[in-house]
Symmetry: C2
Subunit: 278 residues, 2 copies
Amino acid sequence: MELKNIKKVGIIGVGFMGGSLALALKKSFSNFEIIGHARSDKAFRRLKKAKVLDRIERSDKRIAKESDILILATPVSVIINLLKRINPFLKKGAIVFDLGSTKEEIEKAAEKNLPKEVSFVGCHPFCGSEKKGVEEARGSLYQGSLCFITSTNKSSYLVERIWKKIGSKVVRATPAGHDRVVCFVSHLPHLACFSLINTIPAKYLEFSSSGFRDLTRIASSSSGLWTDIFLTNAAKIIENIDKHKKHLNEFRDLIAKGDRQKLKKLIKKANKRRDKLS
Amino acid sequence: MELKNIKKVGIIGVGFMGGSLALALKKSFSNFEIIGHARSDKAFRRLKKAKVLDRIERSDKRIAKESDILILATPVSVIINLLKRINPFLKKGAIVFDLGSTKEEIEKAAEKNLPKEVSFVGCHPFCGSEKKGVEEARGSLYQGSLCFITSTNKSSYLVERIWKKIGSKVVRATPAGHDRVVCFVSHLPHLACFSLINTIPAKYLEFSSSGFRDLTRIASSSSGLWTDIFLTNAAKIIENIDKHKKHLNEFRDLIAKGDRQKLKKLIKKANKRRDKLS
């Protein structure tokens, strides 16, 4: 498949991420027809109102049949189910790519289920997952953000060109390498944050400062999405929880001992790492 | 002491918080002379450049002698040392108040060390501690922010009027009650955040998203300040670390078991709590 031959792009899962991608693609590739899936009448009305698509279809099979590129923008478990189910309907020569937040299980499911005439490209655009709903979609979402690509087939280079065209910085990684990195910089922080806010008695939350509000913003992230992420990256997140507990214990021990010097050093280490970020 | 009799206000510790308070006081009480302490020649030059004070003094004793109100805006351990040392120099009838982030140890030190003719009012304005330095000071800092007052003497009502005048919402609490609440909504989150960023291999930090940057902003907070806070609220922070570890383990166990339903419920609980905040 060549970029110039692509006419129809289907999206299954037109929420915040999928909807933003629809807008971004339309802006950069005005010749694409962007077709989105509505899984209910209610979703149909919502998508119509949001005006992010050229066409809305109620049948995902029909979208699969028509699409030169099919984008799976649902939570990870739904992507895996789709990869199992959609096989008979895909257009010959089509490219399927996804936006899933974990990649090992998805790449395995694609390898096992998709026909040889279809190529799969694992993608993970790395941005703003605490927003929900197509109403929040914006065409600039991917501008300047990272996008991991975890496949190495020929089609992955075409998909890379698409991501770059809409402003993403593409990073190549193996599925396992991707899952390891994002487990540290995204999965563990989300889990720590969910867990932190659950630790605090609800009645005290009214005393929270703006710093706390920044800190816990990601605790609003979708429960469906994150259940999937944790369960499809279970071994790594468990390993990281244990590592995090060790670091908490390091603080605990120094406070218990009253070791001012080492405690200060440990905070300075955190300062230094944080200050390197913008 | 009546508000109309206050002429000279001294500040020891003119950094971000103290400097912002100097600006806020000058704006609301134009008749106050705001005198700040510079503990070195370098600090003197820095304060002069920052233009937040009416007068800069190199001797904290001299400031103590002159001040109708003396404000201690240093880290907690320095406040405690000052309360021990400054006793002989305080003006008769003066009011001393502090901005320290923990209150039990400070109130104890004030009770033990200050002369009877001086009244102490424990205060903790609850805002923006990751900023550092008088250069960042701004007169609007306390506008709309919470300020805990942990003393109940007559002077505490005068100090309350001052905080309200500069836009703070005053909350009355016992020193222990204050330390319990802020341990949950501030101390534990800071510790968890320092610890989280230390858990993540430094080489992966370049892959962090904007969500992660928001989440870890408070990991830039001053190591000196926070060493003091943790050590002067040691029993409570240790208790809270242990509670937090239990909540992390709850997630860990559900992920290990693959219990999708309970995991989702736990994240929904965090969502609900977070969504109540702005």
